[in-house]
Symmetry: C2
Subunit: 336 residues, 2 copies
């Protein structure tokens, strides 16, 4: 016997205030001018009865859900917290509810749980949705904004992300120019993850521009994951791979790398230096504190929501929002 909690309806209010439901609706939505006197009466009735408009009927009649959807693959990593905070806050400020879905790419029961049927627009985080679905939505004119990924070829979908390539390049430039490192290993992020490939590109560019060779052996997989990164680096060390510094594609994998180095009885940064990307909260507490590239995660999240709301309400948004990163120098990259 569940359901049916919507006790007081707009009709109750109308009756109580001696007006029609239409007038109440207008009052509620500020959609039309109303005599101050009736407005007052309605207002009174509303609070008297404790009336709250039912979402469902409102949506059904009006065609708007007043909700934004957030699609993510997995709630994991320190990255997530500031991102959600930004999205949640911005959505609230814009007057939208927030629906979030974290269905892992595994179970996908014919049709995604979030979409035009229950939201006015979607924030799509990285590759939580297949290109095919993205295309379908875009073609249907359904508002979507991509966060930390770019649009599939040919799709004019607004993107919000950080300057990954530039950030990585700055970091590696610094490592080479200021610290004099030459053998710089790189720990890739998750397979097919865009942030990671841009960062890798920045890494390569920096090497090239300094005339340093690109060495396949110095590239490994960290998968944006502490454990995986740890295993990779342990493998490197066991095999006797020589490197001066490890540039991990994100802080989580940097942590794994640090663990691996320490477990091997080596010192950070004296034997092997380590740097990361993101500047998660943990970074400054590690020992040694982690040198990293700060990515404005919360800000990016807020901007994504702002773009989405613009897209919903005006039909247009900026194609690309790119946020600058910042080099955060701590001790894990060696002492100056």
């Amino acid at each position: 016997m569940p359901g049916k909690f919507q006790g007081v309806t707009i009709e109750d209010v109308a009756r109580h205030a001696g007006v029609s439901t239409a007038t109440v609706s207008r009052f509620l939505n500020h959609s039309d001018k109303i005599a101050p006197l009736t407005a007052a009466r309605i207002q009174h009735a509303v609070s008297e009865l404790g009336y709250q408009p039912g979402m469902a009927a409102r949506v059904l009649a009006g065609g708007k859900t007043h909700a934004l959807g957030l699609v993510v693959d997995e709630i994991k990593g320190e990255f997530f917290n500031p991102m959600l905070r930004g999205i949640s806050a911005a959505a609230g400020e814009a007057g939208y509810e927030l629906l979030i879905n974290a269905t892992a790419p595994g179970r996908r029961p014919a049709g995604f749980p979030l979409g035009e049927k229950n939201t006015d627009g979607l924030i799509v985080f990285t590759d939580s949705l297949p290109d095919k679905e993205l295309r379908r939505m875009h073609q249907a004119g359904f508002p979507c904004v991509l966060l930390h990924r770019s649009a599939p070829a040919g799709l004019a979908m607004p993107c919000v992300t950080v300057e990954n390539k530039r950030g990585a390049r700055d970091m590696v430039d610094y490592l080479i120019e200021q610290r004099g490192y030459r053998r710089i290993a790189f720990l890739r992020g998750a397979e097919g993850h865009e942030d990671s490939s841009w960062r890798e590109r920045g890494y390569r560019e920096a090497l090239e521009s300094h005339g340093l060779p690109y060495d396949e052996k110095l590239i490994g997989n960290g998968f944006f994951d502490e454990q995986q990164a740890r295993e990779t680096v342990t493998g490197w060390i066991r095999r006797g791979l020589k490197m001066e510094v490890i540039f991990a594609a994100d802080d989580d994998s940097a942590i794994g790398a640090m663990l691996a180095v320490k477990e091997a009885g080596l010192r950070v940064p004296q034997d092997i230096a380590i740097v990361g990307f993101d500047d998660i909260r943990l970074a400054r507490y590690l020992s040694p504190p982690l040198t990293t590239v700060r990515a404005p995660i919360e800000k990016a999240a807020r901007l994504a929501v702002e773009q989405l709301v613009r897209l919903i309400e005006t039909g247009s948004a900026d194609p690309l929002t790119l946020l600058p990163t910042e080099l955060i120098i701590r001790e894990s990259c060696g002492f100056a």
Copy 2:
């Protein structure tokens, strides 16, 4: 020109399959027996047309929203991540959407954004909702489950939380019995936060049972916040307060305490030992690694959802779910 994305409706499917909408509905909801042949035809039509039931109409007609609401005060602290992961996963598994609202206690525009109008039930985290609202909902028969707080007096509302008192007591017992500490300071959590008061109670009980005096001066405010805890401890040290170990009501404030101690030029744990509560991810990475009480946050979150779903679907749930904690001994409490 927003709204109206629900292109294909149940009528389209019905027509396409040569049946009535009623039959399609029955098929979709498994609410009645259907001839295998028609079933097949409908199924075909559905996938042919890519039909997805519209939430709004379904809700309006059926009285169920198929959504769970999560009310939190603020998305902050490491605590949040595992909690959300648990809730999100469990909700998905039970076939519910998840709506989350993080409106800070400040702006509260007459009526809370989440409630019977848009969800089938609510998970209420700590004191994100005033007792009055809780009462109203409970009295209206609206399913709510409390997470990490207990019900207001007289309200039979299911609660899910961890054994805070017991965990704290175990910790302090350990500190006294195994480490021989006698001057144990306590850093309270947020004002009125239940977890905190239970932990404080555990702390006091442990002192009493060992015949140790309760000293007001050794109690300070950490507010579950790194900065605030840091300031409090800095104040203590400045004023020359003597203590052997600080028991912080959560790991975040333990971090603040650790910072303060180090800033004062003292060593952890040689000069002042520090222990926390929660075992957030960061804990083991601190230097020294933090001794703490592990709280099964994600598990608690899952159980809360399970209780809520039971409450929604069967009308009953366990009044109280109490999860055991576990002592995690690391180096910040002194070496054995």
